[in-house]
Amino acid sequence: AVSQDHGSNDDTEDVSLFDAEEETTNRPRKSKIRHPVASFFHLFFRVSAIVVYLLCELLSSSFITCMVTIILLLSCDFWAVKNVTGRLMVGLRWWNHIDEDGKSHWVFESRKSSQENKTVSEAESRIFWLGLIACPVLWVIFAFSALFSFRVKWLAVVIMGVVLQGANLYGYIRCKVGSRKNLTSMATSYFGKQFLRQNTGDDQTS
């Protein structure tokens, strides 16, 4: 009898916790991908550039063809990520603006979440940041490998890859950080959440 009560208490506790969580999040559509075409192209150009670079000997005997293809893919990727996929998938944008005095300003903007119900979907955000971070890291690795294995003719392309994709990474990180006012407050809130989640998780299991 005691264990049954305990069991039923547990059940009701679980149900009420679950309901409370749903009410606070209040965004049931978060895991859907709203812009499948943008998500596809976000990853397509970056991944094909890397694939062409790795398989260049197999795909074509001409170095020039591979190099021009990679350059074209890198440029399309840069433009697409900077102008389209960032806007659509995570609501961030960065650009350079020259005012009348000739001074240049870098503008980093992020869409306010209260605007027009356009919230950011989690799945899209994960795809975006994964693609954004993984590829420049790979290009840096390629740069070191080209340097140390003396395949210097590829160095121009690899450096271009590092610069273009690194620029997008830097721009979007600054947009993200700028929208949260302070990098330290963002770090503390992230770690605070992790800490809380761990503790409540421990309480539930015990």
Binding site: S62, S75, W79, N83, V84, R87, R93, I98, L155, A156
Partner: protein, 195 residues
């Protein structure tokens, strides 16, 4: 100015992809027109972009390839060489102009130098067509004339945009590297032979 940026940003954050593409293509086309008919204006400087220079650089590098029968030495180093010369040269000129106290930003200067390669790219195209005829002194004279004219055009176009950004007593110091840069590219074009 802040409110102008705010209204600009909400319109570009939510515009359609087609609008973005058309806007950028029109900007690139406008700059090409400005290089072909240079006048003192600020448009090339205000909305800079590096797409034009990239297209021109790739086109120039492709046209400067020697058709070699052996596919192993298929001109790879020459392609990368043109790339490196153009971009490294442009960066060097920009650094030089900034060190001399010019008030132009890094990317604006790269943009202007890159777009002003257009006349030399046209010269390369003409030279390649002329080289299809039989070689000889006439052939060479025609190519020399074309390259000189286009070289002068590039210099005039780029100084029309860059000279204003320098203080008057430093103008010659800032312009002569530009002269050198386009001279090297013209030399590569003039001494090109397909074999």
């Amino acid at each position: 100015m802040k409110s102008r940026i705010r209204e600009f940003d909400s319109s570009t954050l939510n515009e359609s992809v087609r609008n973005t593409i058309m806007r950028d293509l029109k900007a690139v086309g406008k700059k090409f027109m400005h290089v072909l008919y240079p006048r003192k204006s600020n448009t090339l400087l205000r909305d800079w972009d590096l797409w034009g220079p990239l297209i021109l650089c790739v086109t120039l590098a492709l046209m400067l390839q020697r058709d070699s029968v052996d596919s192993e030495k298929d001109g790879g180093p020459q392609f990368a060489e043109v790339f490196v010369i153009v971009w490294f040269g442009a960066v060097t000129i920009t650094l030089n102009s900034k060190l001399l106290g010019g008030n132009i930003s890094f990317f604006q200067s790269l943009c202007v130098l890159g777009y002003c390669i257009l006349p030399l790219t046209v010269a390369m195209l003409i030279c390649r067509l002329v080289l299809l005829a039989d070689p000889g002194p006439v052939n060479f004279m025609v190519r020399l004339f074309v390259v000189i004219v286009m070289f002068a055009w590039s210099i005039v176009a780029s100084t029309a945009f860059l000279a204003d950004s320098q203080p008057p007593n430093r103008r010659a110091l800032a312009v002569y590297p530009v002269f050198l840069f386009y001279f090297v590219i013209s030399w590569m074009i003039l001494t090109f032979t397909p074999q």
